[in-house]
Subunit: 98 residues, 2 copies
């Protein structure tokens, strides 16, 4: 799968699931500047890797600003919200908890 | 965690574990051109994302050449070997199977 920066195509792209297997779910999140995902949680552990742009992830009341090439780990069940500070895409990997 | 390309520092770096949690293990693999990892397997599912350079992953007899920005999924238990075609680093995420 190709997860290079979308660059000029970013504004026309949407969040897509890349694959879901028995233990892992991987998606590419696309979020334009100023857009946000309201606080939510999933049961499994997550890594979020900023591919391009800049996103702010607030988890358990702490804000984490991720620039391109930075990766954040979130334990399972943690409430987290995301806001894009620039037009951004990120690779989200979820460990599916059984 | 910062997983930007190492660039000129690559030759001085080694493979490092970035973190290991209950469900996920994430490491940055550093492999110089011509170096290889002999065929091996782990029980959990894996994603390998080439960060820089170019690596060839042979899994179940099929060769997969990954350039920077490409990601490969491997099911758990699959025998796979890696050879670096250029000085390379890659992000390896393993879903720990319990």
């Amino acid at each position: 799968m190709d997860i290079r920066p979308l660059g000029a195509r970013l504004a026309q792209e949407r969040t897509v699931a890349l694959f879901k297997s028995a233990d892992l779910e991987v998606m590419r999140l696309v979020l334009l500047a100023g857009k946000s995902l309201p606080p939510h949680s999933v049961s499994g552990e997550i890594t979020v890797q900023c591919i391009e742009g800049c996103i702010d992830i607030t988890a358990d009341g702490h804000s984490h600003v991720l620039h391109a090439g930075q990766l954040l780990y979130l334990a399972g069940g943690i409430m987290h919200g995301v806001i894009a500070l620039q037009d951004s895409s990120a690779l989200v990997t979820v460990a599916l908890r059984k």
